[in-house]
């Protein structure tokens, strides 16, 4: 993916990120997607007919929207002849949208794509156990009242216990661990004390707060007019300008007072040093440089390469190390050459574990088949505007957000190379290497 054909990224926009159940709770995944698709096109001066496809990541689409990317595209005014796909790779779904488009571009299947992700974690459904659904289906097929009664008689109280999609989604089906427990595991393996995790979380909050005050977050954010949630009759609308997960004046002392959430007695991972459950969407334009320029667009940067890598599901937090190692090797780039790194903060413990793994010769030898460590990551180059601990982690949208934030930050810093990477529930990592324009 080098040379003239490398995909250019022409900018994009995201909604404010809002904690689930708050400012954006009334908006579905396609509602959020519509807002950013529409605005990305408007800012680029396009009407959508120029696109070859719309590709969005989304992990938990609404039951009524099997392909939220398609719904959002049509609602945003993209002509119906332009196809749209919703793609999934759990937390890397936003990356998956970007890299799918890059692959299609490289294969010569198109020249301009609208990519990104959307997630409404507020609207993750509650569902009934399979047993309940089966009984309902049998009852509806049953002929005569006695048969119907017999069908219903098979129900037990447990049949009604709702399954909370968000909890199930955050639990790994292969290792049975909820994500927070995988972070606890890394904290033990890499000996990351609670204090260090809280310090990292606090820094993320403080950086995000400074970035917001300096207007750096506003550069990537579209103010959204959201209807109030759960209104009787026609709702009132309110302008939502900024991310609401940022806690101004966050201190380590305040974080230290929180109780561990996943391991009540001896754990270290709290809601304060974990990413937040969040609603949001983000999209970007990705395409051939020439095509974009012909449409009056100038690139923000280029996607130089990408890699995904797998690891043990119970150590999913180390995914960035595996993916980055593979990517840097493939591209012949060293860690030290990276001017900016956006690593998703699923958990403070998980990011800190990655930093240790990056710097560890033993880890490099045993797990990466490299003779020496990848290297130390300079904390000032890592997530300079805060991360998911402050902004939140709307699963399907995060990948696109990391890429947008990274490109804007590279431009601001005058840097050349940047890395966006994240861990993926289920034991994967994803990494994108970008070059500033």
């Amino acid at each position: 993916m080098s040379g003239a054909g490398r995909p250019a990224i022409f900018g994009g926009v995201r909604t404010p990120f809002a904690r689930a159940g708050t400012d954006l709770a009334a908006l579905s995944a396609s509602d959020l997607g519509t807002l950013v698709v529409r605005e990305t096109l408007a800012r680029a001066g396009l009407d959508g007919s120029e696109l070859d496809e719309v590709i969005l990541g989304c992990v938990g689409p609404d039951a009524g929207e099997a392909n939220p990317a398609r719904v959002a595209a049509i609602r945003a005014g993209v002509p119906v002849r332009v196809p749209a796909a919703t793609v999934g790779r759990n937390c890397a779904s936003g990356f998956e949208a970007v890299t799918s488009a890059a692959d299609r571009l490289a294969a010569g299947r198109g020249s301009l794509y609208l990519v990104g992700g959307t997630e409404s974690m507020s609207n993750y459904p509650l569902s009934y156990p399979r047993e309940f659904a089966r009984v309902l289906a049998q009852a509806s097929r049953a002929r005569g009242l006695p048969a119907k009664v017999a069908a219903f008689a098979r129900l037990r109280p447990s049949s009604f216990k709702p399954r909370v999609a968000i909890l199930e989604g955050l639990t790994d089906p292969t290792c049975g661990m909820i994500m927070g427990k995988t972070a606890e595991r890394l904290a033990l393996e890499f000996r990351i004390p609670r204090g260090e995790q809280d310090r990292f979380a606090c820094e993320s909050q403080n950086r995000a707060e400074r970035a917001r005050e300096a207007g750096r977050l506003a550069e990537e954010t579209l103010p959204v007019f959201a209807p109030e949630d759960g209104a009787q009759g026609s709702p009132r609308y309110r302008e939502v300008r900024s991310d609401n997960g940022i806690r101004p004046g966050q201190s380590e002392e305040a974080l230290a007072r929180l109780r561990p959430y996943f391991e009540r007695r001896h754990g270290t991972v709290t809601v304060g040093n974990s990413s937040q459950v969040t609603d949001g969407a983000c999209t970007l334009l990705l395409g051939e440089e020439e095509r974009g320029r012909a449409l009056g667009l100038s690139p923000l940067g280029y996607l130089r390469g990408y890699a995904y890598a797998g690891c043990a599901p119970e150590r999913m937090g180390l995914g960035p190390v595996f993916a980055t190692s593979r990517l840097l090797e493939r591209e012949g780039v060293s860690l030290a050459e990276l001017d900016r790194i956006e690593m998703n903060e699923a958990f403070a413990a998980q990011v800190l574990a990655c930093l240790r793994a990056f710097a560890s010769d033993r880890f490099a030898r045993e797990e990466l088949a490299r003779p020496r460590a990848l290297g130390e990551i300079d904390p000032s180059r890592l997530n300079p505007n805060g991360g998911a601990i402050a902004l939140g982690h709307p699963v399907g949208a995060t990948g696109a957000r990391l890429l947008l934030t990274l490109l804007l930050e590279l431009r601001r810093a005058g840097g050349r190379l940047g890395l966006a990477t994240l861990c993926v529930g289920g034991g994967q990592g994803g990494a994108l290497l970008v070059e500033a324009a």
């Binding site: 529409r38 408007a42 001066g45 609602r75 005014g77 103010p223 007019f225 026609s234 609308y237 309110r238």
Partner: protein, 720 residues
Amino acid sequence: MTEAVGIGPSATAAPPAPPAGERAALETTPREVLLVRFLPAAGDKVVKIDLPFADALEALLQRIERSSPRGIVFLGPGPGLFLAGADVALIRDLRDPIEAQRLAARGQKIFERIARLGPPTLAAISGACLGGGFELALACRWRIASDHPRTRIGLPEVRLGIVPGFGGTQRLPRLLGLARARPPILAGTSYPAKAALRLGLVDDVVPEERLEELAEKGVLGELGLPRRRPARFLDRLPPVRRLVASAARRRTLLQTRGSYPAPLRAIEVASRGLGMSIERGLELEARALAETATGAVAKNLLQLYFLRESAKRFASLGGREVEPGVARAAVVGCGTMGGGIAILLAESGVAVRLEDADAGSIARTLERARRRFDEKVARRRAEPHEARAAMDRLQPAADGSGLERCDLVVEAIVESLEAKRALFARLASRVRPDALLATNTSSLAVEAIARGLPRPERVVGLHFFNPVEKMPLLEVVRGPETSAESAARAAALALAIDKIPLFVGDGAGFLVNRVLGPYLQEASNLLSEGVLEREIDDAAVAFGFPVGPIALLDDVGLDVAAAAARSLAAAFPPRFEAPRVLDRLLENRRLGRKSGRGFYRYGRGGRRVSDPDLPRVLGIPTRSPGLPSEALAERLVLAAVAEAFRCLEDGVVERAGDLNLASVMGFGFPPYRGGLVRWALEGGAEALLRRMSDLRARHGVRFEPCRLLLELASSKRSLA
């Protein structure tokens, strides 16, 4: 088989008959169903019932009556076409009641022959099936409607001031019973297919593509369409009928204040007709038609109908219809006016970028749109996904994003020339060269806003009235540099959002406000003379206005009204004066309804009550000189008339008819009176001149008759 004039392969084929002309064609299907296809007159898009059509139908019926097909289907010439109704020009030109009755009787007789045909009959409706068209369908045993988006079914006659005259008042109550037949007859609503099915006006709704196929099955009894049942026994009982009729009468009187005879006559003949044979009922109906169609109210309403149609001329250029060419628009300034404009655009399918420095204005616009669209869904006027798509078209735009792709920008910011000029300069540098730039100014000249701008020919005034969603008129203001194409596109846009366009000159107040101004000013003058505000308003309401002038001022807002009055006073002294009375109230922080106090006080729920403080605030003795209501109304309206003739003289509008249309659609002049100029000239120009001269002598220059009126009175000129 469409060519077939003879009656197909049936053994009982009718003998060759004289050709039916080009207005209807016969065709027989292989299953021996006879299709009677209506055809439009040369040059017409829709099929109208006119004399040649009646001739053609009579000729065909002669042949049909001698044949014996298994069923007969009546249908239009193609998708979206059935029978749009009787030719309105025919009704307009009726003068003689005897002739009118004869005309109705002829139509009734044709339809009665259809009703008496031996084989089962079915009307296959697609598109407009209105008035006489629906009355023909009612003469069939069954009616099925296609789901074509243009399908509309109903009896809109009363809206033109006449009674349905081809059997509608008799057959519909016999089909549905009086209680269910009442709303379609009284309200004159044109219903889409699904609504018509719910109301029982049709027996089934079918896909457009299968209309012919299912019509054939239906008429052969294969669709299980309901057997025609006579109106229920209960409905035919005289006391029940009288009860329904008198309730309808009471309600109608309340709504129309007795000024509109048609609905009352329609319900009367419908109710009485149920108690007699159809022949006698039809005779009753024909007499009611003759009476209403030749009456003054129908003539006035028909005139307005044609004026409304003629407003479409503004959207043409050299005889060619102009398209608005607006898929994307931006509205800058989303207050009361801008927000409403944005909502109408979004509703008609235009994507609208919303710009306003105040986020609250944008939020309020979205709320207002959502309420409107939710209500449409609740009333089944729209599907939920359509409402959501309309909401999606309202797009808050941060710092002008998306302007580059707009075909239209509507400016609705504060009424400041500098602010508007600065905005237009910014817009001109960003939008496409062929984008239309519109200002919703009500008090500034379009010329002043456009001056010095690159490509000023694309700047046009679009003067909407408040409330935007309700007021049917849209003044299209042409500055000296506005191109004919820009103006025509603006008019086409007006039609696309269901407004009536009217070209007006670029002078202070344009047309409506300039004519309304003297009327409102006169109300203030009367108040200063000691007439009670209630008396003034009651006089106007008795004349037929929906609200009186004083209440209207309160509704508009006294600050807004005073600003408009000042700009008129500056432009046209001494006829217009500074708004002293309004200023007195404004000094006392009375802004009208919005501040809870104006001329009136506004209680809970917005109830209007008299304010005992008013005389003190205005410094006037509250003594009513006891003028009769008619005299009050005449003074108010003649003040407007004097200015209206001046507008015509100054060329603010082209035709006197435009003034009639503008007065009814722009400020609520009673439609049954036919419009301002029509009403004024009812007794002749000379009589008008006498009344005006008399008022001039007693009340001042504002009643001074203009040269045009003098020339009209001396018959040197006549109005186009």
